[in-house]
């Protein structure tokens, strides 16, 4: 038997604003990524292969699951379109689905099961059709049953819909509360209700109250109390005299001193109330903060130095043309300085730059535009590391509805020149975004330099076009 896991961006739209940059399939539920529960269920049901299908990006999922050898199964991935219904999904995966029995999960759903009940014979004997159905997802079987026999009722599994932060929190609490747990949870467990990961340091006077799950590389400082009902992710510090109960701290979170976290979800510097779904981002790093820090505009130091050197070269190259042309155009009223606020690499962190507009069709205006003098001031921002010399078209902060999403896209880096300007083929914004994403992943410092020159020359060439 094979399993097809179909998940669409619309299924987890509620989750993205709360946990920016985290794919729902790798969201931890009791410190175990969600996808692992689905894989476990598929294996227990008798699957030897799993295909994960989505209309959104799957690279984070793929990085985590790879080819499935860790579980002894084959895991593959496929893309669908937003409008594809389940039949279209099956058509697009016709080769995969052509052999025998298929189990298809659709939607952002959790399948809870009883370990003591045999899932494999049940799934093998169950007739084709919908096994479980909810308002946001379903579990169905296709193909003829492998064995004919009496199907036990009801099914030894049930469906939990993950449609809000409250349902996510409740599910985690229920899993933590189940005794004995039907799921294999990560960490060392010498006694029930207590799972502790590697390299957990508990200082003198710190207290751990069951039930609790603690991830790897966690420090619980003096006087801190963790639990009951606490899920602590990996790379977490609970500082002195703080209390964490009925709460979930996701990976890379720091809880400052003398804080009481009760009935909350903390992710980096975001604190969420699961009952209302309200979240706040804490600015004070000493209270609650993410422990992961991006480099300068999301790049390494070496790449930043490369970008700075290239921007310096362009500043030197364009300095004299700028001194000559800008005042003349200002006198003619064709040069207008505009201060613009762009989305930074990190959500909520804006970049303010001066980006003049050059109006008119005259020779001087054309020359200034072809020499990219409208980007001259931005080169200083690239020199100081606030923007890259080449990267993404900067997205204006708060102007477009898509802005917040764009920032979350992997590789977004506001820049003086866009990768799309270095290519000849992009026609519209979607094409440009394809090119930007391609180079965000496949780029290198040397390639960035080549592409910057190419973008600069393309802008000169574009002015020559009729």
């Amino acid at each position: 038997m094979k399993t097809l896991i179909v998940i669409r961006e619309a299924d987890y739209g509620w989750l993205t604003p709360l946990f920016p940059g985290v794919h729902p399939l790798v969201m931890p539920i009791c410190n175990k990524p969600f996808i692992e529960y689905l894989i476990d269920f598929s294996i227990l049901a008798g699957s030897t292969a799993v295909r994960i299908v989505s209309d959104g990006p799957l690279n984070d999922v793929e990085r985590y699951c790879e080819n499935g050898s860790r579980w002894g199964i084959d895991i593959s991935y496929a893309s669908i379109l937003v409008d594809d219904d389940l039949d279209a999904v099956m058509d697009k995966n016709a080769r995969y689905c052509s052999e025998g029995r298929m189990m298809v999960t659709s939607g952002f759903i959790f399948i809870s099961y009883e370990k003591k009940h045999e899932l494999k014979p049940f799934v093998a004997m169950a007739p084709a059709g919908t096994l479980l159905r909810g308002s946001t997802g379903s579990l169905l079987l296709t193909g003829t049953p492998e064995n004919v026999g009496e199907v036990r009722e009801p099914a030894p599994c049930s469906l939990v819909e993950l449609d809000s932060i409250g349902s996510y929190y409740r599910l985690s609490t229920e899993i933590l509360n189940e005794r004995p747990s039907p799921y294999v949870l990560p960490g060392y467990s010498n006694e029930p209700d207590c799972h502790i990961g590697r390299n957990v340091v508990t200082s003198k006077g710190a207290e751990i109250i069951k039930p609790v799950i603690i991830g790897n590389n966690v420090q619980i400082m003096k006087g801190a109390v963790v639990g009951p009902f606490a899920v602590i992710g990996s790379n977490v510090i609970v500082d002195r005299e703080s209390t964490v109960s009925n709460s979930m701290l996701l990976d890379n979170t720091y809880i400052g001193e003398n804080l009481d976290i009760v009935g909350r979800i903390a992710y980096g510097n975001i604190l969420i109330d699961p009952a209302s779904g309200v979240s706040i981002a804490m600015e004070d790093r000493h209270l609650l903060s993410g422990m992961k820090r991006d480099g300068i505009f999301g790049l390494g130091l070496f790449r930043y130095l490369f970008h700075a050197a290239v921007s310096l070269l362009f500043i030197l190259l364009l300095f004299i043309p700028y001194l000559l042309l800008a005042p003349l155009l200002k006198i003619q009223g064709k040069w207008k300085n505009r201060t613009m606020t762009f989305q930074g690499v990190q959500q909520g962190k804006n970049v303010i730059v001066v980006r003049p507009s050059i109006a008119g069709e005259g020779v001087l205006s054309g020359l200034a535009r072809s020499l990219s003098l409208d980007r001259f001031a931005m080169l200083f921002s690239a020199l100081s590391g606030r923007v890259a010399v080449i990267g993404s078209f900067p997205v204006e902060a708060g102007r477009h509805q898509e802005a917040a999403t764009s920032v979350l896209m992997p590789g977004y880096r506001p820049a003086v020149f866009s990768y799309a300007e270095a290519e000849d083929w992009p026609v519209n914004a979607e094409d440009s975004s394809i090119v930007e994403r391609y180079y965000a992943v496949h780029g290198s410092p040397v390639q960035d330099m080549v592409l910057t020159v190419k973008a600069f020359l393309n802008r000169i060439h574009a002015q020559d076009q009729p």
Partner: protein, 111 residues
């Protein structure tokens, strides 16, 4: 880059083999009339071992022209490398992608 053509259920399946990059992309367009006419086609990418931004541009360009003229392009049999490029760049949102070229031709013929 080699380009092969075959008919399946009245739909042309164009198989590309080799690297689809800045060097080969312009030649691909001239190598087969099926890529430039108005009929729907399936492009079998199982033999493409490298795809860069220009190669993606070539595929997007073919699809755009076909769709403007009432046709369509379906992609089939992307290997892991290509699928990752499509996933990262989100170009997968622009195409119907099948894991079987002949099945893709069958669905194209029905429309």
């Amino acid at each position: 880059m080699t380009v092969n053509e075959k008919k399946c259920k009245g739909i042309t399946i164009v198989s590309l083999n080799g690297s689809l990059d800045a060097a080969s992309a312009p030649g691909v367009l001239n190598s087969s009339s099926a890529l430039t006419d108005t009929q729907s086609i399936v492009i079998d990418l199982s033999g493409v071992d490298f795809l860069d931004s220009s190669g993606l541009g070539c595929l997007v360009g073919i699809a755009r022209k076909k769709r403007e003229q009432g046709g369509d392009v379906r992609l089939a049999c992307l290997n892991e490398k290509l699928r990752k490029v499509f996933d990262i760049t989100r170009a997968s949102r622009l195409f119907d992608i099948y894991d079987d070229a002949e099945y893709a031709a069958g669905t194209a013929a029905k429309k």
